[in-house]
Assembly symmetry: C2
Homo-oligomer: 356 residues x 2
């Protein structure tokens, strides 16, 4: 089993190291192959997604991804910035389904900015389409137009688009995920304004006929952003497009107050997937043994479940994470008085120990 | 002073009636001209924005708007649905600047789903561009394309677009609003992905040179959705495009937990404006004297301030609303034990009395 290990920038290397430690403690043999990505890719090969890194990711069974981005690279032209690596991997590996759980462990409820009764035991899953929409639609660019006074004026433009088959395949992923959970799916769009959303909604309704056991509802994206604030526990699975999913999955993650705990999976049509924490590269705390490795460790668990068909091993890791939380161990980001503060490495070691 | 009064559907007529009562109690002479809009427009004239209603709105100095929408009209084709009236008015009156305050009155802090210390005394202003973006961009539609297997497949598409001059004029409104407040402006875009956002950001930075006293920062929309949950009081004024503004202004409104309190103004280049509550038509409680009229009354105050150059009268209304809250009067949506529950009309009467 070949795993491409793309640790990236900032805290990426140290959190990925803990996930590897946990994976190595399982009775599974992996072939871990590291490669530079993001700013690290630019530094060694002049591009955030070096050709060799992409080739490795394509050849591997799964990709374990840390995080990319650092202030050092902020002045680069957009096409060389670290985050282009993420967009490139999604596109080339055809990672069309992004699973973003927003889970709040009971022990961490006080970290949320929401009242405990609103968020305690929150457990929702956002299924974001990841390879289409306005992220990749053509045409796009900046061009000259005439303004109201018939003077030359620049205009920026982008194309939002979804085909029926693209909507169909992400809807299927979402309905199947809902079947394994509470069987309620909310599709989010802006069908009162956008033609793309109108096609999205019609197609989701059509796919629903194959999943009669799942209760489907629809929300406009503005209303979804409101309801996520008002009563997030009313949701089970949410499915939406790339742009709305970008916004809502991050909003939902922040509802938990502990984004250092949240994993994600980005899947293609086969078993191939890319697994990464929902948080960023946090260059301000990099290399100081301060970062929370649990989101990356939980991403490794998702990898076992979705790409490697080892659900028991995934369960073991998730149980071990719950155990260290129950033991009161906390990295700085989730520490509260009365709990025991530990560093990145000690947290990784504790999860390994809890596996036993 | 001619005011077009478009009460609309659901609770629209009863909340607008309270706002008119308050306006009539001022020492200002108005010429109120009612006209049907939304479902009510469709019912009498076969269109949500009847030609006579649009003509009146164009001729008036300002538009006082209630709310539109009712289940009765849910099965109409999209172009005849009530909300098309809003889009039509924005387009024809060139209402490009939407001011959406998210204010949480200290007395109502417990209504929020967020912890009181996170939201008490929240006072932010979202400036949403309202006449451009993917709401109106061409081309848009549903067409046939070939899918991956070279089979015919429908595709929905829309065009996001902003010209430099459109960005410039909304940025100016936002900088000027920030100058009158805490002098901090956050521009929200998705410049790491969208060309439209790249032009947006460059243009806002250029406009900033005319407002050296305002501190400008930039956030990606996903991060803005997170920060609004984590620490909303860190914001002062937010400026963003039509689509992102739709989502973020509703999210911000819901942070307060009392959307029945929030007014809005939609302004054109002159003094013309449309004023409406941030909440919807709530057909489930229509006609039962249950609706909260304060958002509409506060919208009338914004009308006095922005369209009618009567800031003292606006101040009077706002002070009267604060007074009735301090007196403990609450409609059902904001009622808590220990406060005094009143109906729609009694609340309107109380505000009139508090003006004195
Ligand atoms: C870095 C950026 C391009 C990316 C996105 O917008 O998809 C990020 O926000 C994410 O959600 O993974
Ligand atoms: C009704 C709808 C078209 C409208 C919008 O999206 O602008 C509404 O959500 C709003 O924010 O006023």
């Amino acid at each position: 089993t070949k795993i491409a290990v793309l640790a990236g920038d900032g805290i990426g290397p140290e959190i990925v190291a803990q996930a590897l430690k946990v994976l190595e403690a399982l009775d599974v043999s992996f072939d871990f192959e590291p490669a530079p990505v993001g700013g690290a890719g630019y530094a060694v090969a002049g591009h955030p997604l070096p050709a060799a890194t992409l080739a490795l990711a394509q050849a591997a069974d799964a990709v374990l991804f840390g995080a990319v981005g650092d202030w050092k690279y902020d002045t680069l032209p957009r096409e060389l910035r670290p985050e282009q690596a993420i967009l490139g991997l999604r596109k080339h590996l055809q990672l069309f389904a992004n699973l973003r759980p927003a889970v709040l462990y009971a022990e961490l409820a006080s970290a949320s900015s929401l009242k405990p009764e609103i968020v305690a035991d929150l457990d929702i899953l956002i299924v974001r389409e990841l390879s289409g929409d306005i992220y990749f639609g053509q045409p796009r660019g900046i061009r000259l137009v005439l303004d109201g006074a018939f003077k030359d004026c620049r205009e920026g433009f982008d194309t939002m688009r979804y085909s029926e088959s693209e909507v169909r395949r992400i809807a299927q992923v979402a309905f199947q995920a809902a079947q394994k959970r509470s069987k309620r799916l909310t599709s989010v769009d802006k069908a009162n304004v956008l033609e793309t959303s109108q096609l999205w909604r019609e197609t989701v309704i059509d796919v629903a006929r194959d999943y009669p056991d799942v209760e489907l509802s629809h929300l406009y994206v503005d209303n979804a952003a409101m309801q996520l604030v008002r009563a997030p526990k009313a949701f089970d699975v949410i499915v939406t497009g790339n742009l709305f999913g970008d916004i809502l999955s991050d909003q939902a993650a922040m509802l938990t107050g502990s984004i250092g705990m949240l994993p994600s999976a980005s899947l293609s049509a086969g078993h191939k997937g890319l697994y990464e924490p929902a948080h960023g590269s946090a260059p301000d705390i990099a290399g100081q043994d301060l970062a929370n490795p649990l989101a990356t460790i939980l991403s490794a668990a998702m990898m076992l479940r979705y790409s490697l068909q080892q659900p028991q091993q995934a369960d073991r890791i998730e149980a071990a994470v719950k155990k260290v939380l129950a033991q009161g161990l906390r990295t700085a980001d989730i520490w509260t008085p009365g709990t025991h503060k530990v560093g990145t490495q000690a947290m990784g070691d504790a999860v390994v120990k809890a596996l036993a």
